[in-house]
């Protein structure tokens, strides 16, 4: 699709959202901050009834309503503030939506479900494929727009004015869908590989809004087509089946069956378009909009994307800056601790009558004494991340790999209670792969582990480097990483990927020293049938315990790792 069309589509999406904010749920706008986004937003703001910007890191009370402390103090009685979402339907504009915590995303999703007339405009500035809006929210927002790569010259000011929108709004309640529309949208969604049933519903709403925009009381085929382009196509996870696999064999063998199938259909297309199956038309439309490199993009985006959701529960506790809140305790204001205002007020509250009697002339509404001050406390306990760096080379043999997989799964099964996250790096051939990004989800793990390949050389240094990188990254996210290296010790591939045994050993030792310098705790498990002196030395470089475990099964591996970590 060329830039002008993409922009036109974005403008249409904005108009639709203005017409039916509640029904469509909102807009997922993926774009870096820039003139194109600004222009679309400015146009959109003009159309929406109550656009409100939500600052990132907003407190729950400000968003969903709660006690207004300032007002409570000055009035001397409890004052509740309604919060951004509490006073009538709002179009919530959420910048940096890709950084939203899963908890907040879940609560916003619930708010949208409650259909109180709110809608959400999620401004997703994610630079990497894995930085993106939470899936639970994306599923509820009908319109997905990507403005990436649009120049201002491609973007004339949007053509819709407020009057048109207002007129369309009055039409909207009367718009009906044709009899086959539901079926067509549902089938089209299914064939585009969209599992959620929200998608066809939202597409139906979009079609209706499109008809209202045109001032018609029935959504026609064109509306369905546009709705499909807007709502279904961005959610597609595959090309419609016919297009990929099944279309090719007939080309190779243009024998009777395909001919009889294809010919009449073509004829119908030419002579009598209305008799085509509507979903075919919708699929054609979706196909036209789907980027040609969809599959490549999906393949690229899929791993990190699921990784993000896999890290969901973990990321929510990012850094444990908050940790588990403990009861606040009396203390003095020292400029460092945070005051628990509500608790302070609570502590002061029962004494108000007595204090008032003692000091009748005090000007303050609330008499707070220093002994009332309560300070916030959090139990700071960082989640642990166990990075398994597993040797998947030919010499480590597939059986050992299976045991390592089993150990990872066993550790994960206990992970919740222990607050552990687990990640898996496999090294084989000439490099190392992050097979399982930090996660506590068994579902994710099983999926990833099933596909773990084996064979090839032993690029020990590459495995260590990957572990080092992941450890540094996870420290930045507030996890405490520990590396468990499972190998049989014969490093034979150097960091540059060449098969050079001395260089490989030297590289491995260098990486080990780098890890040690980072003070990342680690353990080395020798899975070889005979313990390797070389590996023992490596463990020395790492300052890590060295555990030779020939013929270990998953259970024993898991026990050994746990024991080594707890000691």
């Amino acid at each position: 699709m060329d830039p002008v069309e993409r922009w036109a589509q974005a403008a249409t999406a904005a108009a639709l959202l203005a017409i039916d904010p509640e029904g469509l749920g909102g807009l997922w706008l993926r774009a870096r901050s820039g003139p194109a986004r600004d222009r679309l937003l400015a146009g959109l703001r003009g159309l929406l009834t109550a656009p409100r910007r939500m600052p990132p890191g907003i407190a729950d009370a400000q968003l969903f309503g709660g006690v207004d402390l300032a007002a409570t103090l000055s009035a001397g009685q409890l004052v509740r503030a309604p919060g951004l979402l509490g006073s009538g339907p709002v179009a919530l504009i959420a910048p940096m939506a890709e950084r939203m915590t899963p908890g907040l995303a879940a609560r916003l999703a619930q708010t949208l479900d409650a259909s109180q007339g709110h809608c959400l405009i999620a401004l997703d500035e994610g630079a990497e494929p894995d930085e993106r809006l939470a899936a639970s929210l994306a599923d509820r927002l009908a319109l997905h727009i990507d403005l990436d790569g649009l120049a201002l010259a491609d973007c004339p000011p949007p053509a819709f004015d407020a009057e048109e929108i207002a007129r369309a709004r009055t039409y909207l309640p009367h718009v009906r869908l044709g009899p086959d529309a539901h079926a067509a949208l549902t089938v089209a969604a299914l064939r585009l590989g969209i599992d959620s049933l929200r998608a066809p519903l939202l597409a139906a709403r979009a079609a209706r809004a499109l008809a209202a925009l045109d001032g018609r009381d029935t959504a026609d085929e064109d509306d369905l087509v546009t709705a499909t382009e807007l709502v279904l196509a961005p959610r597609a996870t595959r090309f419609p089946e016919e297009d990929t696999d099944e279309a090719e064999p007939p080309q190779d063998a243009p024998e009777p069956p395909p001919e009889t199938d294809a010919a009449p259909e073509d004829e119908l297309d030419e002579t009598d378009p209305p008799q085509r199956l509507p979903e075919e038309i919708l699929l054609q439309a979706a196909k036209a909009v789907l980027p040609p490199d969809l599959l490549a993009r999906l393949a690229a985006a899929k791993a990190p994307k699921t990784a993000k959701s896999g890290a969901g529960a973990g990321a929510a506790k990012k850094g444990n800056r908050r940790g588990r809140p403990l009861p606040s305790r009396p203390g003095r204001i020292d400029g460092q601790s945070r005051i628990d205002l509500v608790a302070t007020l609570r502590a002061a509250a029962p004494w108000q009558t007595i204090r008032r009697k003692l000091t009748p002339d005090a000007p303050q509404k609330v008499l707070v004494r220093s002994e009332d001050i309560r300070l916030r406390r959090f139990e700071e306990k960082s989640d642990r991340l166990l990075i398994f760096a597993v040797d998947a080379s030919g010499s480590a043999a597939l059986a050992r790999l299976a045991e390592a997989k089993g150990a990872v799964e066993l550790m994960l099964a206990e992970a919740y209670a222990r607050r552990d996250h687990v990640a898996l790096i496999a090294f084989r051939g000439t490099g190392a792969d992050l097979l399982l990004p930090p996660t506590r989800s068994l579902v994710q793990t099983k999926r990833r582990l099933a596909a773990l390949p084996g064979g090839g050389g032993t690029p020990l240094a590459a495995g260590l480097r990957a572990s080092l990188d992941l450890a540094a990254l996870s420290k930045g996210r507030g996890l405490s990483p520990t590396i468990a290296l499972l190998t049989d010790g014969r490093a034979n591939i150097a960091l540059d990927g060449t098969a050079n045994r001395p260089a490989a050993a030297e590289d491995a030792r260098a990486m080990a020293r780098a890890l040690r310098a980072q003070a990342t705790p680690s353990i080395v498990i020798d899975m070889g049938n005979r313990p390797q002196a070389q590996l023992r030395d490596l463990a020395g470089d790492l300052a890590a315990p060295y555990i030779p475990m020939p013929r270990a099964d998953s259970q024993r591996l898991s026990t050994a790792v746990t024991a080594a970590l707890d000691s």
Binding site: Q110, L190, V342, A349, T353, E409, R440
Partner: protein, 334 residues
């Protein structure tokens, strides 16, 4: 005011609906956990359930829905003796709710304005004798989970904070929903749910179309749609009430008890909770179908829901717990 989407209008998802109906018949089965993908109607069915449940008799104005004036806690002031009926409470526990909101806390307003030490009840009080619903239960913060576990076990909420020392009954049916991809549930909490259900989008095209159609009709032709389906809901409610009446009279043959025990032993389910839940749920199934005794067919209907989340997790078993239960049920109840 618009009513939630009617329970009986939910297409398919029979296991989820069955589990919810059973807890309505016998709340002591202890809760439902619904795990599954996005857009499968998890939240819809819980909200629908609220409208389906029969009304309960409560003392007017009692903050924790007491059934008799004698049961009203002494800290609740100004509660009379009048009995009124009101819908079974279904209380939402939002993620990120503070401890104060969940268990209750000092009433700041009265403390500040009148210098009185009074208790402001929380969500647990309001959920008494009803349902507590937690969406995305696997994202719930640990310290709230701990609170819930404690209350769910004891059926009593004990508040010891800010100079308050207060207790009130808090018996509720826990309903949780979540998406397993977002994270696991702590085993202790998992165990607290009587039944667990795995939901998926229907893969039958006609069912999917029907879902879309009904939802659309609900939004567009609200009145006509509700007129039809509220009638269906009413007859379902009647069946639930009838099942409640005969529940106690249902016979439990020794053979069924033995079957329950054998199933649990064969599956290696932890503790006796599984057995008890299985029996209770099967009895509720029997009552719902109007049978006089609990038999194997009832056990078979409910075994997966009652046991699949109690199996010791075997990460190496690719088949998943549902299949394991089915396999064992087939061999034990053959």
């Amino acid at each position: 005011m618009t009513h939630p989407f009617p329970f009986s209008a939910i297409v398919g998802q029979s296991e989820m609906k069955q589990a919810m109906v059973l807890t309505a018949i016998d709340p002591s089965i202890g809760g439902v956990l619904v795990f599954g993908d996005r857009g499968t109607g998890k939240s819809t069915s819980v909200r629908a359930l609220a409208a389906l449940l029969p009304e309960i008799d409560v003392v007017a104005g009692c903050p924790c829905n007491s059934a008799t004036p004698a049961a009203v806690p002494d800290w609740a002031e100004g509660v009379g003796t009048e009995i009124v009926s009101k819908p079974t409470p279904v209380i939402d526990l939002p993620l990120g709710a503070t401890e104060d909101r969940v268990v209750g806390a000092l009433d700041i307003e009265r403390a500040l304005t009148r210098g009185e030490k009074a208790f402001e009840p929380g969500l647990l009080a309001r959920a008494n004798r009803g349902y507590l619903y937690i969406d995305e239960v696997n994202l719930l913060e640990d310290h709230i989970v701990d609170l819930l576990l404690d209350v769910a076990v004891s059926g009593e909420n004990v508040i010891e904070r800010e100079g308050l020392s207060i207790r009130h009954p808090a018996r509720f049916v826990l309903v949780g929903s979540g998406n397993p991809e977002e994270g696991e549930l702590r085993p202790q909490l998992l165990d607290r749910f009587g039944l667990s259900v795995e939901v998926a989008s229907p893969n039958n095209i006609d069912d999917r179309i029907e879902v879309i159609r009904r939802r659309d009709a609900y939004e567009m032709d609200y009145d006509a749609f509700m007129a039809h389906w509220q009638g269906e809901d009413a007859s379902l409610r009647k069946r639930i009430l009838e099942a409640r009446k005969i529940l106690r009279a249902i016979e439990t043959p020794d053979a069924t008890l033995r079957d329950c025990a054998e199933l649990c032993v064969a599956l290696g389910a932890d503790g006796l909770r599984g057995e008890l839940t299985l029996l209770k749920a099967a009895r509720a199934v029997a009552a719902y179908s109007g049978a006089e005794t609990v038999g194997r067919e009832h056990l078979r209907t409910i075994a997966a829901s009652a046991l699949r989340h109690r199996l010791r997790r075997d990460p190496l078993d690719e088949a998943g717990s549902t299949t394991r239960v089915a396999r064992v049920v087939d061999s034990v109840l053959a």
